[in-house]
Amino acid sequence: MSFLEFVEGPLFYVAATIFVVAALWRLIGIIAMGRRKDISPPKGSATAGFFKGNLRHFFPRGIFTRRTAMHIFGGYAFHLGLFGLLLFAAPHVAFLSNRILFGLSWPALPRWGFIAVAEVAFAGLIILWVRRFSDPVMRMITDWDDRIGTWLTFFVMLSGCFALQESHDSLRAIHMLLVDIWLIYFPFGRLMHTFTFFLSRGNSGATYGRKGMTL
Protein backbone atom coordinates (compact mmCIF):
# COMPACT_ATOMS: atom_id res chain seq x y z
CA MET A 1 0.00 0.00 0.00
CA SER A 2 1.42 3.40 -0.98
CA PHE A 3 1.45 6.35 1.37
CA LEU A 4 -1.22 8.00 -0.77
CA GLU A 5 -3.40 4.90 -0.58
CA PHE A 6 -2.89 4.83 3.18
CA VAL A 7 -3.89 8.45 3.79
CA GLU A 8 -6.82 8.23 1.37
CA GLY A 9 -7.84 4.83 2.62
CA PRO A 10 -7.50 3.49 6.16
CA LEU A 11 -6.26 6.71 7.76
CA PHE A 12 -9.01 8.73 6.13
CA TYR A 13 -11.70 6.33 7.35
CA VAL A 14 -10.24 6.35 10.88
CA ALA A 15 -10.08 10.17 10.84
CA ALA A 16 -13.60 10.45 9.42
CA THR A 17 -14.91 8.04 12.07
CA ILE A 18 -13.24 10.01 14.88
CA PHE A 19 -14.65 13.20 13.35
CA VAL A 20 -18.21 11.89 13.19
CA VAL A 21 -18.24 10.08 16.55
CA ALA A 22 -16.51 12.84 18.55
CA ALA A 23 -18.52 15.64 16.91
CA LEU A 24 -21.78 13.80 17.61
CA TRP A 25 -20.61 13.04 21.14
CA ARG A 26 -19.91 16.70 21.75
CA LEU A 27 -23.13 17.94 20.18
CA ILE A 28 -25.30 15.38 21.95
CA GLY A 29 -23.40 16.06 25.18
CA ILE A 30 -24.30 19.75 25.00
CA ILE A 31 -27.93 19.11 24.14
CA ALA A 32 -28.21 16.41 26.83
CA MET A 33 -27.31 18.95 29.51
CA GLY A 34 -30.81 20.29 28.93
CA ARG A 35 -32.13 23.77 29.38
CA ARG A 36 -33.47 25.06 32.67
CA LYS A 37 -37.25 25.03 32.57
CA ASP A 38 -38.76 28.50 32.40
CA ILE A 39 -42.17 28.78 34.07
CA SER A 40 -42.68 32.52 33.64
CA PRO A 41 -45.74 33.16 31.43
CA PRO A 42 -44.44 33.51 27.85
CA LYS A 43 -45.25 36.44 25.60
CA GLY A 44 -44.08 34.76 22.43
CA SER A 45 -42.82 31.53 20.96
CA ALA A 46 -39.45 30.11 22.00
CA THR A 47 -39.45 27.78 18.99
CA ALA A 48 -40.00 30.63 16.54
CA GLY A 49 -37.30 32.57 18.39
CA PHE A 50 -34.89 29.65 18.00
CA PHE A 51 -35.17 29.79 14.22
CA LYS A 52 -35.37 33.58 14.02
CA GLY A 53 -32.23 33.85 16.16
CA ASN A 54 -30.42 31.53 13.79
CA LEU A 55 -31.34 33.60 10.77
CA ARG A 56 -30.95 37.03 12.38
CA HIS A 57 -27.30 36.60 13.28
CA PHE A 58 -26.34 35.95 9.67
CA PHE A 59 -26.91 39.64 9.08
CA PRO A 60 -24.91 42.29 10.94
CA ARG A 61 -26.85 45.13 12.50
CA GLY A 62 -26.33 48.47 10.84
CA ILE A 63 -24.95 50.38 13.80
CA PHE A 64 -22.08 47.92 14.26
CA THR A 65 -21.21 47.54 10.59
CA ARG A 66 -18.46 50.13 10.40
CA ARG A 67 -16.62 48.94 13.50
CA THR A 68 -16.89 45.29 12.51
CA ALA A 69 -16.51 45.65 8.74
CA MET A 70 -13.19 43.81 8.46
CA HIS A 71 -14.49 40.88 10.42
CA ILE A 72 -17.71 40.69 8.47
CA PHE A 73 -15.82 40.77 5.18
CA GLY A 74 -13.14 38.32 6.32
CA GLY A 75 -15.64 35.99 7.92
CA TYR A 76 -18.01 35.81 4.98
CA ALA A 77 -15.21 35.57 2.40
CA PHE A 78 -13.47 32.75 4.25
CA HIS A 79 -16.57 30.71 5.08
CA LEU A 80 -18.24 31.04 1.69
CA GLY A 81 -14.96 30.35 -0.06
CA LEU A 82 -14.22 27.34 2.11
CA PHE A 83 -17.65 25.79 1.55
CA GLY A 84 -17.30 26.51 -2.18
CA LEU A 85 -14.00 24.65 -2.27
CA LEU A 86 -15.12 21.84 -0.01
CA LEU A 87 -18.25 21.04 -1.97
CA PHE A 88 -17.49 22.13 -5.53
CA ALA A 89 -13.77 21.60 -6.20
CA ALA A 90 -13.62 18.91 -8.90
CA PRO A 91 -11.33 16.51 -6.95
CA HIS A 92 -13.61 16.87 -3.88
CA VAL A 93 -16.74 16.09 -5.89
CA ALA A 94 -15.02 13.00 -7.31
CA PHE A 95 -13.67 11.92 -3.91
CA LEU A 96 -16.99 12.36 -2.11
CA SER A 97 -18.86 10.65 -4.92
CA ASN A 98 -16.55 7.65 -5.13
CA ARG A 99 -15.64 7.16 -1.47
CA ILE A 100 -18.63 8.28 0.56
CA LEU A 101 -21.78 8.97 -1.42
CA PHE A 102 -22.01 5.77 -3.49
CA GLY A 103 -21.69 7.48 -6.85
CA LEU A 104 -23.90 10.48 -6.13
CA SER A 105 -22.37 13.44 -7.92
CA TRP A 106 -22.97 17.06 -8.89
CA PRO A 107 -21.36 19.65 -11.22
CA ALA A 108 -17.94 20.84 -10.09
CA LEU A 109 -16.35 24.27 -10.41
CA PRO A 110 -14.30 24.89 -13.54
CA ARG A 111 -10.61 25.54 -12.95
CA TRP A 112 -10.99 29.31 -13.12
CA GLY A 113 -13.89 29.06 -10.67
CA PHE A 114 -11.77 27.05 -8.26
CA ILE A 115 -9.01 29.65 -8.39
CA ALA A 116 -11.44 32.53 -7.84
CA VAL A 117 -13.14 30.81 -4.90
CA ALA A 118 -9.78 29.78 -3.41
CA GLU A 119 -8.57 33.38 -3.60
CA VAL A 120 -11.70 34.59 -1.79
CA ALA A 121 -11.24 31.94 0.90
CA PHE A 122 -7.55 32.72 1.39
CA ALA A 123 -8.21 36.46 1.49
CA GLY A 124 -10.83 35.91 4.18
CA LEU A 125 -8.66 33.57 6.24
CA ILE A 126 -5.66 35.89 6.04
CA ILE A 127 -7.78 38.87 7.15
CA LEU A 128 -9.05 36.91 10.14
CA TRP A 129 -5.55 35.63 10.94
CA VAL A 130 -3.93 39.08 10.70
CA ARG A 131 -6.60 40.45 13.00
CA ARG A 132 -5.75 37.76 15.53
CA PHE A 133 -2.40 39.37 16.20
CA SER A 134 -2.96 42.98 15.09
CA ASP A 135 -6.19 43.76 16.93
CA PRO A 136 -5.59 44.26 20.69
CA VAL A 137 -8.90 42.63 21.63
CA MET A 138 -8.37 39.56 19.50
CA ARG A 139 -4.75 39.30 20.53
CA MET A 140 -5.79 39.15 24.17
CA ILE A 141 -8.53 36.55 23.79
CA THR A 142 -6.85 34.30 21.21
CA ASP A 143 -5.58 30.99 22.56
CA TRP A 144 -3.68 27.97 21.21
CA ASP A 145 -6.89 26.36 19.98
CA ASP A 146 -7.63 29.36 17.73
CA ARG A 147 -4.10 29.23 16.35
CA ILE A 148 -4.08 25.49 15.72
CA GLY A 149 -7.48 25.67 14.03
CA THR A 150 -6.40 28.57 11.82
CA TRP A 151 -3.04 27.09 10.79
CA LEU A 152 -4.45 23.62 10.17
CA THR A 153 -7.19 25.04 7.95
CA PHE A 154 -4.67 27.23 6.16
CA PHE A 155 -2.36 24.30 5.40
CA VAL A 156 -5.24 22.09 4.32
CA MET A 157 -6.32 24.78 1.85
CA LEU A 158 -2.79 25.51 0.66
CA SER A 159 -1.88 21.86 0.14
CA GLY A 160 -5.23 21.43 -1.63
CA CYS A 161 -4.27 24.13 -4.12
CA PHE A 162 -0.89 22.44 -4.69
CA ALA A 163 -2.66 19.16 -5.27
CA LEU A 164 -5.20 20.58 -7.69
CA GLN A 165 -3.54 19.22 -10.83
CA GLU A 166 -3.28 15.76 -9.25
CA SER A 167 0.01 15.53 -11.17
CA HIS A 168 2.09 14.48 -8.18
CA ASP A 169 0.94 11.78 -5.79
CA SER A 170 3.11 13.23 -3.06
CA LEU A 171 1.26 16.57 -3.16
CA ARG A 172 -2.09 14.84 -3.05
CA ALA A 173 -0.84 12.63 -0.20
CA ILE A 174 0.31 15.65 1.82
CA HIS A 175 -3.08 17.27 1.31
CA MET A 176 -4.91 14.13 2.41
CA LEU A 177 -2.66 13.69 5.43
CA LEU A 178 -3.43 17.24 6.52
CA VAL A 179 -7.14 16.65 5.91
CA ASP A 180 -6.96 13.56 8.13
CA ILE A 181 -5.22 15.52 10.90
CA TRP A 182 -7.77 18.33 10.49
CA LEU A 183 -10.66 15.87 10.77
CA ILE A 184 -9.21 14.33 13.94
CA TYR A 185 -8.58 17.73 15.53
CA PHE A 186 -11.88 19.28 14.46
CA PRO A 187 -14.29 17.88 17.10
CA PHE A 188 -11.90 18.58 19.97
CA GLY A 189 -11.31 22.24 19.22
CA ARG A 190 -13.09 25.46 18.39
CA LEU A 191 -13.60 24.39 14.79
CA MET A 192 -16.71 22.73 16.22
CA HIS A 193 -18.44 26.11 16.04
CA THR A 194 -19.41 24.89 12.57
CA PHE A 195 -22.01 22.73 14.28
CA THR A 196 -22.59 24.47 17.62
CA PHE A 197 -23.44 27.91 16.24
CA PHE A 198 -27.05 26.95 15.61
CA LEU A 199 -27.42 25.97 19.28
CA SER A 200 -26.08 29.24 20.67
CA ARG A 201 -28.01 31.42 18.23
CA GLY A 202 -31.05 29.27 18.81
CA ASN A 203 -30.80 29.38 22.60
CA SER A 204 -30.58 33.15 22.84
CA GLY A 205 -33.22 33.40 20.11
CA ALA A 206 -35.52 31.12 22.10
CA THR A 207 -35.06 33.24 25.25
CA TYR A 208 -35.78 36.39 23.29
CA GLY A 209 -38.69 34.82 21.44
CA ARG A 210 -40.30 33.65 24.66
CA LYS A 211 -40.18 37.17 26.04
CA GLY A 212 -41.75 38.52 22.88
CA MET A 213 -38.60 40.45 22.13
CA THR A 214 -37.89 41.73 18.66
CA LEU A 215 -34.84 40.01 17.20
Binding site: M33, S40, F64, R67, F188, N203, S204, T214
Partner: protein, 422 residues
Protein backbone atom coordinates in the same frame (compact mmCIF):
# COMPACT_ATOMS: atom_id res chain seq x y z
CA UNK B 1 -17.67 20.90 59.01
CA UNK B 2 -17.00 21.56 55.36
CA UNK B 3 -13.91 23.59 54.61
CA UNK B 4 -14.55 24.42 50.98
CA UNK B 5 -12.39 27.16 49.58
CA UNK B 6 -13.90 30.18 47.89
CA UNK B 7 -12.69 28.85 44.54
CA UNK B 8 -14.40 25.51 45.17
CA UNK B 9 -17.65 27.20 46.18
CA UNK B 10 -17.62 29.47 43.13
CA UNK B 11 -16.75 26.73 40.66
CA UNK B 12 -19.46 24.47 42.08
CA UNK B 13 -21.99 27.24 41.41
CA UNK B 14 -20.55 27.88 37.94
CA UNK B 15 -21.15 24.23 37.13
CA UNK B 16 -24.63 24.25 38.69
CA UNK B 17 -25.62 27.14 36.44
CA UNK B 18 -24.06 25.69 33.30
CA UNK B 19 -26.90 24.00 31.48
CA UNK B 20 -27.12 23.17 27.79
CA UNK B 21 -27.88 26.80 26.98
CA UNK B 22 -24.76 28.16 28.67
CA UNK B 23 -22.71 25.25 27.29
CA UNK B 24 -23.81 26.12 23.76
CA UNK B 25 -22.51 29.67 24.31
CA UNK B 26 -19.17 28.48 25.64
CA UNK B 27 -18.83 25.97 22.82
CA UNK B 28 -19.61 28.50 20.10
CA UNK B 29 -17.44 31.49 20.95
CA UNK B 30 -14.78 31.81 18.24
CA UNK B 31 -12.89 34.61 20.01
CA UNK B 32 -13.68 37.10 17.27
CA UNK B 33 -13.91 39.94 19.79
CA UNK B 34 -16.87 41.59 18.05
CA UNK B 35 -18.63 41.84 21.40
CA UNK B 36 -16.12 44.50 22.43
CA UNK B 37 -17.51 46.75 19.70
CA UNK B 38 -20.89 46.79 21.45
CA UNK B 39 -19.69 47.21 25.04
CA UNK B 40 -19.87 50.76 26.39
CA UNK B 41 -17.05 50.01 28.83
CA UNK B 42 -14.70 48.97 26.05
CA UNK B 43 -15.82 51.70 23.67
CA UNK B 44 -15.25 54.39 26.27
CA UNK B 45 -11.85 53.14 27.48
CA UNK B 46 -10.42 51.09 24.58
CA UNK B 47 -9.12 48.65 27.19
CA UNK B 48 -9.33 45.10 25.78
CA UNK B 49 -9.94 43.63 29.22
CA UNK B 50 -13.49 44.94 28.95
CA UNK B 51 -14.21 42.62 26.03
CA UNK B 52 -17.45 40.93 27.13
CA UNK B 53 -16.46 37.35 26.33
CA UNK B 54 -13.22 37.81 28.29
CA UNK B 55 -15.26 38.61 31.41
CA UNK B 56 -16.59 35.04 31.32
CA UNK B 57 -13.19 33.34 31.38
CA UNK B 58 -13.27 31.78 34.89
CA UNK B 59 -16.63 30.18 34.16
CA UNK B 60 -15.54 29.07 30.69
CA UNK B 61 -12.39 27.50 32.14
CA UNK B 62 -14.39 25.68 34.79
CA UNK B 63 -16.79 24.34 32.17
CA UNK B 64 -14.02 23.21 29.85
CA UNK B 65 -12.19 21.47 32.65
CA UNK B 66 -15.09 19.83 34.44
CA UNK B 67 -18.25 19.60 32.40
CA UNK B 68 -17.68 19.92 28.65
CA UNK B 69 -18.20 16.81 26.54
CA UNK B 70 -14.78 15.27 25.77
CA UNK B 71 -13.28 17.11 28.78
CA UNK B 72 -11.86 13.82 30.06
CA UNK B 73 -10.05 13.16 26.78
CA UNK B 74 -8.68 16.70 26.82
CA UNK B 75 -7.51 16.18 30.41
CA UNK B 76 -5.86 12.90 29.38
CA UNK B 77 -3.75 14.78 26.86
CA UNK B 78 -3.07 17.63 29.27
CA UNK B 79 -5.19 19.98 27.18
CA UNK B 80 -7.76 20.92 29.82
CA UNK B 81 -7.45 24.33 31.53
CA UNK B 82 -6.09 24.53 35.08
CA UNK B 83 -8.59 24.82 37.93
CA UNK B 84 -9.77 28.35 38.67
CA UNK B 85 -8.07 29.85 41.71
CA UNK B 86 -9.33 32.36 44.26
CA UNK B 87 -6.70 34.80 43.07
CA UNK B 88 -8.05 34.53 39.54
CA UNK B 89 -11.62 35.00 40.74
CA UNK B 90 -10.59 38.12 42.64
CA UNK B 91 -8.75 39.44 39.59
CA UNK B 92 -11.91 38.97 37.51
CA UNK B 93 -14.32 40.39 40.10
CA UNK B 94 -14.20 43.98 38.81
CA UNK B 95 -14.83 42.68 35.30
CA UNK B 96 -17.86 40.73 36.46
CA UNK B 97 -19.39 43.46 38.64
CA UNK B 98 -17.92 46.87 37.71
CA UNK B 99 -17.74 46.59 33.96
CA UNK B 100 -20.88 44.70 33.03
CA UNK B 101 -24.35 46.16 33.35
CA UNK B 102 -25.83 42.99 31.85
CA UNK B 103 -27.25 45.21 29.12
CA UNK B 104 -27.05 42.50 26.43
CA UNK B 105 -25.89 44.78 23.62
CA UNK B 106 -23.04 42.35 22.95
CA UNK B 107 -25.52 39.63 21.97
CA UNK B 108 -26.77 41.85 19.17
CA UNK B 109 -23.34 42.06 17.54
CA UNK B 110 -22.21 38.50 18.30
CA UNK B 111 -22.25 36.35 15.15
CA UNK B 112 -22.99 33.36 17.37
CA UNK B 113 -25.80 35.11 19.29
CA UNK B 114 -24.15 34.40 22.64
CA UNK B 115 -26.09 35.74 25.62
CA UNK B 116 -23.14 37.08 27.58
CA UNK B 117 -25.29 39.26 29.84
CA UNK B 118 -27.42 36.32 30.95
CA UNK B 119 -24.30 34.25 31.52
CA UNK B 120 -22.67 37.00 33.61
CA UNK B 121 -25.82 36.93 35.75
CA UNK B 122 -25.25 33.20 36.29
CA UNK B 123 -21.55 33.70 36.88
CA UNK B 124 -22.36 36.18 39.62
CA UNK B 125 -24.12 33.33 41.44
CA UNK B 126 -20.69 31.76 41.92
CA UNK B 127 -19.18 35.00 43.09
CA UNK B 128 -22.03 35.72 45.50
CA UNK B 129 -21.91 32.20 46.95
CA UNK B 130 -18.16 32.57 47.53
CA UNK B 131 -18.65 35.98 49.14
CA UNK B 132 -16.72 37.79 46.41
CA UNK B 133 -19.11 40.72 45.99
CA UNK B 134 -18.18 44.43 45.82
CA UNK B 135 -18.65 46.37 49.03
CA UNK B 136 -21.33 48.68 47.63
CA UNK B 137 -23.56 45.77 46.71
CA UNK B 138 -22.91 44.08 50.05
CA UNK B 139 -24.15 47.23 51.75
CA UNK B 140 -27.27 47.25 49.58
CA UNK B 141 -27.92 43.66 50.65
CA UNK B 142 -27.63 44.63 54.31
CA UNK B 143 -30.15 47.45 53.81
CA UNK B 144 -32.55 45.06 52.08
CA UNK B 145 -32.35 42.69 55.02
CA UNK B 146 -33.13 45.54 57.43
CA UNK B 147 -35.73 47.51 55.49
CA UNK B 148 -36.55 45.63 52.23
CA UNK B 149 -35.03 48.57 50.33
CA UNK B 150 -31.46 48.68 49.01
CA UNK B 151 -31.31 52.34 49.99
CA UNK B 152 -32.76 51.72 53.43
CA UNK B 153 -36.13 53.34 52.66
CA UNK B 154 -38.51 52.52 55.51
CA UNK B 155 -42.30 52.16 55.44
CA UNK B 156 -42.53 55.35 57.48
CA UNK B 157 -40.70 57.25 54.74
CA UNK B 158 -42.97 55.73 52.09
CA UNK B 159 -46.07 56.75 54.02
CA UNK B 160 -44.77 60.29 54.36
CA UNK B 161 -44.14 60.50 50.61
CA UNK B 162 -47.60 59.11 49.85
CA UNK B 163 -49.21 61.71 52.13
CA UNK B 164 -47.23 64.42 50.39
CA UNK B 165 -48.43 63.22 46.98
CA UNK B 166 -52.02 63.00 48.18
CA UNK B 167 -51.77 66.65 49.14
CA UNK B 168 -50.15 67.60 45.83
CA UNK B 169 -52.70 65.83 43.65
CA UNK B 170 -55.74 65.90 45.90
CA UNK B 171 -56.24 62.21 45.18
CA UNK B 172 -56.29 59.68 48.03
CA UNK B 173 -53.85 56.78 47.74
CA UNK B 174 -54.81 53.66 49.66
CA UNK B 175 -52.24 51.42 51.26
CA UNK B 176 -52.99 47.67 51.50
CA UNK B 177 -56.35 47.91 49.74
CA UNK B 178 -57.67 44.37 49.33
CA UNK B 179 -58.96 43.25 45.95
CA UNK B 180 -57.54 46.20 44.01
CA UNK B 181 -56.95 45.79 40.30
CA UNK B 182 -53.33 46.78 40.58
CA UNK B 183 -50.61 46.71 43.23
CA UNK B 184 -47.92 49.24 42.40
CA UNK B 185 -44.30 48.87 43.42
CA UNK B 186 -41.61 51.50 43.22
CA UNK B 187 -37.87 51.66 43.27
CA UNK B 188 -36.21 53.37 46.22
CA UNK B 189 -35.14 56.18 43.92
CA UNK B 190 -38.73 56.85 42.89
CA UNK B 191 -39.84 56.90 46.51
CA UNK B 192 -37.11 59.24 47.70
CA UNK B 193 -35.99 61.26 44.67
CA UNK B 194 -38.69 61.06 42.01
CA UNK B 195 -41.71 61.18 44.27
CA UNK B 196 -43.87 62.78 41.60
CA UNK B 197 -44.05 59.33 40.05
CA UNK B 198 -46.44 58.28 42.85
CA UNK B 199 -48.62 61.32 42.17
CA UNK B 200 -48.54 60.59 38.45
CA UNK B 201 -49.85 57.08 39.09
CA UNK B 202 -52.65 58.48 41.24
CA UNK B 203 -53.67 60.91 38.50
CA UNK B 204 -53.48 58.35 35.71
CA UNK B 205 -55.30 55.55 37.52
CA UNK B 206 -58.06 57.89 38.67
CA UNK B 207 -58.60 58.95 35.08
CA UNK B 208 -58.53 55.34 33.88
CA UNK B 209 -61.00 54.31 36.57
CA UNK B 210 -58.91 51.47 37.89
CA UNK B 211 -58.36 50.62 41.54
CA UNK B 212 -54.83 50.41 42.82
CA UNK B 213 -52.87 50.17 45.99
CA UNK B 214 -49.41 50.13 47.49
CA UNK B 215 -48.45 47.28 49.79
CA UNK B 216 -46.91 48.14 53.14
CA UNK B 217 -44.96 44.88 52.91
CA UNK B 218 -43.83 45.11 49.30
CA UNK B 219 -43.54 48.72 48.21
CA UNK B 220 -39.96 48.22 47.04
CA UNK B 221 -39.38 46.64 43.64
CA UNK B 222 -35.61 46.65 43.32
CA UNK B 223 -34.19 43.15 43.45
CA UNK B 224 -30.62 43.42 44.66
CA UNK B 225 -30.41 39.63 44.64
CA UNK B 226 -30.60 39.62 40.85
CA UNK B 227 -27.95 42.31 40.61
CA UNK B 228 -25.57 40.60 43.03
CA UNK B 229 -26.28 37.16 41.65
CA UNK B 230 -27.59 35.77 44.89
CA UNK B 231 -30.39 33.34 44.10
CA UNK B 232 -31.55 32.97 47.72
CA UNK B 233 -31.75 36.75 48.21
CA UNK B 234 -33.50 37.26 44.85
CA UNK B 235 -35.98 34.55 45.79
CA UNK B 236 -36.76 36.08 49.18
CA UNK B 237 -37.40 39.48 47.58
CA UNK B 238 -39.73 37.98 44.95
CA UNK B 239 -41.48 35.93 47.61
CA UNK B 240 -42.17 39.03 49.66
CA UNK B 241 -43.92 40.62 46.67
CA UNK B 242 -45.82 37.47 45.79
CA UNK B 243 -47.01 36.96 49.38
CA UNK B 244 -48.16 40.57 49.65
CA UNK B 245 -49.95 40.56 46.27
CA UNK B 246 -51.68 37.25 46.91
CA UNK B 247 -52.65 38.30 50.44
CA UNK B 248 -54.25 41.45 49.03
CA UNK B 249 -55.83 39.48 46.20
CA UNK B 250 -54.81 41.97 43.51
CA UNK B 251 -55.18 41.05 39.85
CA UNK B 252 -51.95 42.65 38.66
CA UNK B 253 -48.63 43.75 40.08
CA UNK B 254 -47.09 46.77 38.39
CA UNK B 255 -43.35 46.69 37.85
CA UNK B 256 -42.10 50.26 38.08
CA UNK B 257 -39.85 52.28 35.84
CA UNK B 258 -36.84 50.21 36.81
CA UNK B 259 -35.22 47.83 34.37
CA UNK B 260 -33.87 45.07 36.57
CA UNK B 261 -36.91 45.13 38.83
CA UNK B 262 -39.07 44.29 35.83
CA UNK B 263 -36.92 41.37 34.72
CA UNK B 264 -36.63 40.13 38.30
CA UNK B 265 -40.36 39.89 38.92
CA UNK B 266 -41.70 39.27 35.40
CA UNK B 267 -39.20 36.79 33.96
CA UNK B 268 -37.07 35.49 36.82
CA UNK B 269 -39.75 35.68 39.53
CA UNK B 270 -41.77 32.50 38.93
CA UNK B 271 -38.58 30.54 38.34
CA UNK B 272 -37.07 31.80 41.57
CA UNK B 273 -40.00 30.73 43.72
CA UNK B 274 -40.74 27.63 41.67
CA UNK B 275 -44.35 28.32 40.76
CA UNK B 276 -46.56 30.58 38.69
CA UNK B 277 -48.09 33.65 40.32
CA UNK B 278 -51.81 34.07 41.02
CA UNK B 279 -51.62 37.53 39.48
CA UNK B 280 -50.23 39.03 36.32
CA UNK B 281 -47.11 41.16 36.25
CA UNK B 282 -47.26 44.20 34.01
CA UNK B 283 -44.74 46.94 33.49
CA UNK B 284 -45.99 50.47 34.07
CA UNK B 285 -45.07 51.49 30.51
CA UNK B 286 -46.92 48.45 29.17
CA UNK B 287 -49.92 49.30 31.35
CA UNK B 288 -50.01 52.97 30.35
CA UNK B 289 -49.82 51.98 26.70
CA UNK B 290 -52.65 49.49 27.20
CA UNK B 291 -54.85 52.04 29.00
CA UNK B 292 -54.09 54.59 26.31
CA UNK B 293 -55.05 52.16 23.51
CA UNK B 294 -58.27 51.42 25.38
CA UNK B 295 -59.01 55.15 25.47
CA UNK B 296 -58.98 55.27 29.24
CA UNK B 297 -56.18 57.80 29.59
CA UNK B 298 -56.57 59.95 26.46
CA UNK B 299 -53.72 62.22 25.47
CA UNK B 300 -54.23 65.97 25.74
CA UNK B 301 -51.95 68.75 24.62
CA UNK B 302 -48.55 67.43 23.70
CA UNK B 303 -45.38 68.64 25.38
CA UNK B 304 -43.92 71.06 22.81
CA UNK B 305 -40.27 70.53 23.74
CA UNK B 306 -37.80 68.61 21.62
CA UNK B 307 -37.41 65.29 23.40
CA UNK B 308 -35.69 61.98 22.97
CA UNK B 309 -36.19 58.58 24.60
CA UNK B 310 -33.59 56.51 26.39
CA UNK B 311 -34.15 52.78 26.00
CA UNK B 312 -33.42 51.06 29.33
CA UNK B 313 -31.73 47.79 28.39
CA UNK B 314 -33.82 45.54 30.61
CA UNK B 315 -37.08 46.94 29.29
CA UNK B 316 -36.31 47.17 25.62
CA UNK B 317 -33.47 44.93 24.54
CA UNK B 318 -34.02 42.30 27.22
CA UNK B 319 -37.63 42.95 28.13
CA UNK B 320 -39.36 43.21 24.77
CA UNK B 321 -41.09 46.54 25.43
CA UNK B 322 -39.91 48.23 22.26
CA UNK B 323 -43.07 49.72 20.77
CA UNK B 324 -44.97 50.68 23.92
CA UNK B 325 -42.78 53.61 25.06
CA UNK B 326 -42.59 54.91 21.49
CA UNK B 327 -46.36 54.96 21.13
CA UNK B 328 -46.60 56.87 24.41
CA UNK B 329 -43.91 59.28 23.22
CA UNK B 330 -45.73 59.92 19.95
CA UNK B 331 -48.93 60.68 21.87
CA UNK B 332 -47.30 62.92 24.46
CA UNK B 333 -44.52 64.71 22.72
CA UNK B 334 -44.81 67.16 19.81
CA UNK B 335 -41.17 66.88 18.77
CA UNK B 336 -39.88 63.39 19.50
CA UNK B 337 -36.50 62.55 18.00
CA UNK B 338 -34.80 59.17 18.29
CA UNK B 339 -31.17 58.78 19.32
CA UNK B 340 -28.76 57.08 16.94
CA UNK B 341 -29.05 53.32 17.43
CA UNK B 342 -32.33 53.72 19.33
CA UNK B 343 -34.25 50.59 20.19
CA UNK B 344 -32.53 47.23 20.28
CA UNK B 345 -29.01 48.56 19.87
CA UNK B 346 -29.26 51.63 22.08
CA UNK B 347 -26.36 52.23 24.42
CA UNK B 348 -26.72 51.47 28.11
CA UNK B 349 -26.45 54.40 30.52
CA UNK B 350 -23.58 52.58 32.21
CA UNK B 351 -25.13 52.20 35.65
CA UNK B 352 -27.37 49.13 35.43
CA UNK B 353 -26.77 45.67 36.86
CA UNK B 354 -25.66 47.03 40.20
CA UNK B 355 -22.87 49.18 38.74
CA UNK B 356 -24.41 52.41 40.04
CA UNK B 357 -24.55 50.91 43.55
CA UNK B 358 -20.86 50.08 43.41
CA UNK B 359 -18.72 53.15 44.27
CA UNK B 360 -15.59 51.37 43.02
CA UNK B 361 -17.05 51.53 39.50
CA UNK B 362 -17.87 55.24 39.60
CA UNK B 363 -15.09 56.38 37.25
CA UNK B 364 -15.80 53.62 34.76
CA UNK B 365 -19.50 54.42 34.83
CA UNK B 366 -18.73 58.08 34.20
CA UNK B 367 -16.58 57.13 31.20
CA UNK B 368 -19.32 54.89 29.81
CA UNK B 369 -21.87 57.68 30.14
CA UNK B 370 -19.72 59.86 27.87
CA UNK B 371 -21.04 57.77 24.96
CA UNK B 372 -24.61 58.47 26.00
CA UNK B 373 -23.76 62.16 26.36
CA UNK B 374 -22.43 62.10 22.79
CA UNK B 375 -25.67 60.52 21.56
CA UNK B 376 -27.66 63.29 23.24
CA UNK B 377 -25.38 66.06 21.98
CA UNK B 378 -25.86 64.76 18.45
CA UNK B 379 -29.51 65.80 18.61
CA UNK B 380 -29.65 69.50 17.79
CA UNK B 381 -31.65 71.71 20.17
CA UNK B 382 -32.60 68.80 22.42
CA UNK B 383 -34.46 69.96 25.53
CA UNK B 384 -35.46 66.88 27.47
CA UNK B 385 -34.90 63.16 27.64
CA UNK B 386 -37.49 60.65 28.75
CA UNK B 387 -35.95 57.88 30.83
CA UNK B 388 -38.38 55.13 31.87
CA UNK B 389 -36.04 53.67 34.50
CA UNK B 390 -35.33 55.35 37.83
CA UNK B 391 -31.82 53.95 38.03
CA UNK B 392 -30.94 55.14 34.51
CA UNK B 393 -32.56 58.45 35.39
CA UNK B 394 -30.29 58.92 38.36
CA UNK B 395 -27.25 57.97 36.23
CA UNK B 396 -28.42 60.47 33.61
CA UNK B 397 -28.75 63.28 36.12
CA UNK B 398 -25.25 62.69 37.48
CA UNK B 399 -23.81 62.19 34.02
CA UNK B 400 -25.40 65.28 32.49
CA UNK B 401 -24.10 67.28 35.42
CA UNK B 402 -20.63 65.81 34.91
CA UNK B 403 -20.60 66.62 31.20
CA UNK B 404 -22.29 70.00 31.73
CA UNK B 405 -25.33 69.22 29.62
CA UNK B 406 -28.58 70.95 30.37
CA UNK B 407 -31.42 68.58 29.44
CA UNK B 408 -34.35 67.89 31.66
CA UNK B 409 -34.66 64.22 32.62
CA UNK B 410 -38.24 63.01 32.98
CA UNK B 411 -39.88 59.68 33.79
CA UNK B 412 -42.42 58.19 31.39
CA UNK B 413 -45.22 58.14 33.98
CA UNK B 414 -44.72 61.82 34.68
CA UNK B 415 -44.72 62.69 30.97
CA UNK B 416 -47.93 60.77 30.32
CA UNK B 417 -49.61 62.24 33.42
CA UNK B 418 -48.57 65.79 32.53
CA UNK B 419 -49.99 65.50 29.00
CA UNK B 420 -53.22 63.75 29.97
CA UNK B 421 -56.44 65.17 28.50
CA UNK B 422 -58.53 67.08 31.04
Amino acid sequence: MSTQTKAEIATAKFLEFTDGEVASYFESCVHCGECAQACHFFLSTNDPKYTPTYKLMPMVKTYKREKAPLAKIRKMFGLAPDPVTEEELREWEPLVYDSCTMCGRCTEVCPMGIDIAGTIRKMREGYAAAGLVPEGLQRAEEYVEKTTSPMGVTLKAVEAQIKHQEKETGIPIEIDKKGADYMAMFSSLEIMAYTDTIGAYAKLFKKAGVTWTISSAAYEATNVGVQIGSGPLAKSIVKRVVDAAEELGVKHVIAPECGHAYGAIRWAGPNLIGREFKFEVIHIVELLDKLRREGRIPAGTKDPRKMTLHDPCQLIRRGGLLKEPRRLMDDSCADFVEMKGAGLTNLCCGGGGGVSANPRAAELQKAAFSLKADQLKAIKDLEAVIVPCANCRSVFEDGLDEYELDYEVIGMGELVASTLAE
